[in-house]
Symmetry: C2
Subunit: 254 residues, 2 copies
């Protein structure tokens, strides 16, 4: 049985990612979270805190992929524009929802501390399901095939704990990585292309590395078929040994 | 005189960025390189080593922004598809160019070592200008408003040294960052929104931080007008002091 490929996109929202103020780490965390569930991230975008940009990206990506994950822009300040933009993308009304308000009231110890700004975090589009936030309580939400998560990495990762049961994954793609020292890409490029041509169900990648004590390559094979992947790992080792290079399998990762 | 805003997009190319194997650091490096030149990064995308995805993204982004910077996919292996895809996006022929071949021949110490795989790195679209690579020699190129750079961060940064003189920048946007401890976003959100409404030429952002010894906020003001920016910094300090919070200006960055 061949399981279908399930693909997701990631939309990172925030001026701070585009100005260089903040180094994104959420894309990688989401990719590593989804891979074992049988979902591959196939595209990502980074847009500013600009409603029209968010709406356009949400609509392009939710139509093209099985799932879309957004991060950022769901806090209490004026530059948090994601919830309203996602509602607009779906043409859904949005307002303060009582179950979300209750979560915030409990967290802020009473309605008196729940000022207008904090109450913005209870604005949820009609038809959405809440996503629990075990770190700072203000929830994310799922609307259609779109998961709307926080931007702060620790909070985003906390929200992922409430995601897996909502995902219908497909084939799990696994990877084998071979590390070789003292080999340049140009020496093995033809052999690698031959492997790729001979194994259409395997995807091969080549990534040079440079450190203080030398240089070399990581060669990566990725496939949903475990037998094909094991053979690909052996083939990569043979390819590198034929160059007289010391090579080792350094990690098996999903 | 008000200089116009000049905007760029960044297109990061590579399966390894989407699988989570590799943490991108090029977006931030490009943003920090461009800011002092008067160019703001306004959007970024990450796509796989898939020609049709690269072509679509290149054409969407080069039409929408003043400049487009791509990283990745210009090495010698089969998964390096960027040069051909950029040529296809422009409808430009592509082939081995003699000046690029000469650079590689010198680097690999003669034509005998320049195998077919390495020669792929001399494939340059018609009409492009080469971008020098001080690290590993194989050049990048500029075609129209598109800069095609390597994906390995050290090589990418080396290529940026041959970019600045080709950029016509506009207004330089600078930032002031104020760090405050023990303040939550909900407490200052209304005040921050009031500042934003009163100073339309300034963009304000709020970014919570959490460390082992506490929590707080970074409040950031960004503007091309230095006087407006200085006032915004003062206003942010006043806003935080009104909360009884210890606050300090931690950096002035472009």
């Amino acid at each position: 049985m061949t399981l279908r490929q399930v693909k997701a996109a990631v939309l990172l929202i925030g001026d701070e990612l585009l100005s260089g103020r903040t180094q994104d780490v959420n894309l990688r965390a989401i990719a590593k979270f989804l891979a074992p569930l049988g979902v591959q991230v196939a595209e990502a975008r980074v847009v500013a805190d600009a409603p029209e940009e968010i709406v356009a990206a949400v609509n392009a990506l939710r139509a093209k992929y099985d799932y879309l994950f957004t991060t950022g822009g769901i806090g209490p300040t004026h530059d948090d524009k994601t919830a309203d933009a996602v509602a607009a993308a779906f043409g859904a009304p949005i307002g303060v929802r009582e179950d979300a308000r209750a979560i915030l009231e409990a967290h802020y110890k009473g309605a008196a501390n729940l000022n207008d700004a904090r109450l913005r975090m209870a604005r949820i589009p009609d038809g959405a399901e809440l996503i629990a936030n075990p770190v700072s309580k203000a929830p994310g939400f799922m609307l259609g095939n779109v998961f709307v998560l926080a931007g702060v990495p620790s909070i985003m990762r906390g929200m992922l704990e409430d995601i897996a049961h909502r995902i219908e994954g497909g084939a799990v793609v696994r990877a084998v990585t071979v590390r070789a020292k003292g080999v340049r890409e140009g020496a093995i490029a033809q052999g690698l292309a031959d492997l790729e041509a001979a194994a259409p169900q395997v995807s091969f990648g080549s990534y040079p590395w440079f450190t203080a004590d030398g240089f070399g390559l990581h060669l990566v094979a990725r496939a949903a078929d475990d037998a094909a992947l094991a053979k690909a790992g052996d083939d990569l080792m043979d390819l590198l040994r034929a160059q007289g290079a010391a090579a080792e399998i350094v990690q098996d990762e999903t």
